[in-house]
């Protein structure tokens, strides 16, 4: 039986507690940088990627759209692949809102 490898990303610890901006040119902790440096390699090399949203100061919609919607928009992965591989964790009730936003951006991306 094949073992499923779960790769965990804790945004506030592995990336930044203050993410923001869409493109790398916008700022240091942009959605594009998060997608290209962490998310994309993790999805490409693992069966499952678990992302924990808690602990940050918040998330701008541009950051979330570029990081997650951008995966599909730019043709890196299909919606099905993302649905199968990506798991979003929002331990704190306050972060549920961002989880819903990510799901929305993935659905709307084309």
């Amino acid at each position: 039986m094949r073992m499923i490898v779960i790769y965990k990303i804790h945004v506030s610890e592995d990336f930044s507690a203050t993410p923001g901006g869409r493109f790398i040119a916008d700022g240091e902790f942009s959605g594009e940088r998060f997608r290209d440096q962490l998310l994309r390699p993790a999805l490409a090399n693992n069966d499952c990627v678990e992302i924990t949203l808690d602990g940050t100061r918040g998330y701008g919609s541009s950051f979330l759209e570029e990081a997650f919607g951008g995966l599909i928009r730019l043709g890196y992965f299909s919606k099905d692949e993302i649905r199968r591989k990506l798991k979003i964790n929002a331990g704190n009730q306050s972060y549920e809102h961002y989880k819903r936003l990510i799901e929305k951006y993935i659905e709307e991306a084309r």
Binding site: S16, A17, T18, P19, G20, G21, R22, A25, D26, G27, E28, F29, S30, R57, G58, Y59, G60, S61, S62, F63, E65, E66, G69, G70, R73, S94, H97, Y105, E108, A109, R110
Partner: protein, 385 residues
């Protein structure tokens, strides 16, 4: 100080002509006594002001809520000074003349006439002086500070205006003074800087002892989107700016009422404004359709319907660039008010003013004078603890 004759000055200028420009300026300044400009008395400054430019007075009430026209006109006057200064500087550079950047060039502003200044107006005032400093290297001086209204002094000190002007011996904040509103020192930047928002939010929380809740989470989201909008839309490349700008620059501050009935954050940029950027966008036709539903008429062009333009931009769920996934920024700013369960969003952009109050009430008007960019003010009414 030895007084130099005109002939001698010309001789010195000619003599130093081949020297590097900074050495030449320093030499002439030293010989002509310009280095002593710091020691000018109020009377001397007034005399210089009469010679070089009109003296301006701060409006008695400097506030965008209760005295919009006068406040905006006064700030427009400051911007005009920057325009003139930058033009003179360019001319001086082209002709290799010495350009002295001191206050005598532009006249000075009398601050003793003001009785009240709001945190938002104080931020815009600081931003204007900051722009002058960045573009002209303008050295501004403060005179007759003892004549200033105590409340105005406190507000300008707290917002960081006096520090910007490098005023020495700034009075410490007094605990006894309990003014209408407390403010935090302004922050400025040219990128999306989440750490600065975090710092400002932490200062609001700690200084005003406000309990941490979801409001701060969503406030961060809104401000980070405002910063992103500045980088993407506020200062387009190729735009012909009437007043010289410092590209991608934004300013922000936080404020709170002593009784903690509300706190807020103000964000300002000196860009082309929301209505100014819409007609060039690919979604202009979409916005025009919104305008038709709001005002029953198509856009008149210019800035005559700026209020409606902001309203249309807010109501539109899609972005101005029409690329997939764009256009949630303005919506997120508005959503914050409903999510936190009380508050007000106010956007002043060019001549337009848009206000959204918790519960769904929204209004838009077009003012007579431009605010000189885009000013966003979030006012949060914390839930009873």
């Amino acid at each position: 100080m030895k007084k130099l004759s005109c002939r001698h000055k010309k001789f010195l200028t000619r003599k130093s002509f081949s020297a590097p420009i900074h050495k030449k300026i320093r030499y002439i300044k030293r010989k002509c006594g310009y280095n002593n400009i710091n020691r000018h008395s109020a009377e001397q400054l007034e005399a210089l002001s009469r010679k070089y430019g009109a003296k301006k007075h701060l409006p008695e009430v400097m506030c965008f809520d209760s005295n919009y026209e006068e406040t905006a006109r006064f700030l427009q006057g400051l911007r005009e000074d920057v325009r003139v200064g930058v033009k003179a500087k360019k001319r001086a550079k082209a002709t290799r003349e010495y350009y002295h950047t001191n206050v005598d060039r532009l006249g000075y502003v009398d601050f003793s006439t003001a009785n009240y200044i709001s945190p938002t107006a104080a931020l815009v005032l600081a931003a204007e002086y900051h722009r002058s400093k960045l573009l002209l290297g303008l050295k501004s001086y403060v005179v007759d500070m003892k004549k200033w209204n105590r409340e105005v002094y406190s507000m300008l000190r707290d917002v960081g205006f006096l520090e910007l002007l490098r005023v020495q011996n700034i009075e410490q904040k007094s605990q006894e003074l309990n003014f209408d509103i407390n403010v935090i020192k302004f922050m400025s930047g040219k990128k999306v800087e989440g750490d600065k928002i975090d710092e400002l939010i932490s200062l609001i929380r700690n200084q005003f002892s406000i309990k941490e809740d979801d409001s701060f989470l969503y406030l961060y989201d809104s401000v980070v989107e405002a910063m992103t909008n500045v980088i993407h839309h506020a200062y387009p490349i190729g735009e012909k700016y009437e007043i010289p700008i410092v590209k991608d620059r934004w300013w922000m501050t936080g404020f709170c009422l002593p009784d903690k009935s509300y706190f807020g954050l103000t964000f300002y940029d000196q860009g082309v404004s929301i209505p100014g950027s819409l007609p060039r966008s690919r979604m202009w036709e979409h916005i025009r359709r919104f305008l038709l539903t709001i005002s029953g008429a198509s856009s008149k062009g210019g800035d005559a319907d700026d209020g409606d333009m902001i309203m249309a931009a807010m109501q539109s769920s899609r972005s101005r660039t029409r690329e997939a996934g764009r256009g949630n920024g303005l919506v997120q700013m508005k959503d914050l008010i409903d999510t936190v369960g009380g508050g007000r969003l106010r956007i002043l952009s060019r001549r337009g003013e848009y206000v959204y109050v918790y519960g769904g009430e929204e209004n838009a008007v077009t003012r007579n004078v431009s605010v000189g960019g885009t000013l966003i003010e979030w006012e949060i009414w914390p839930r009873p603890q």
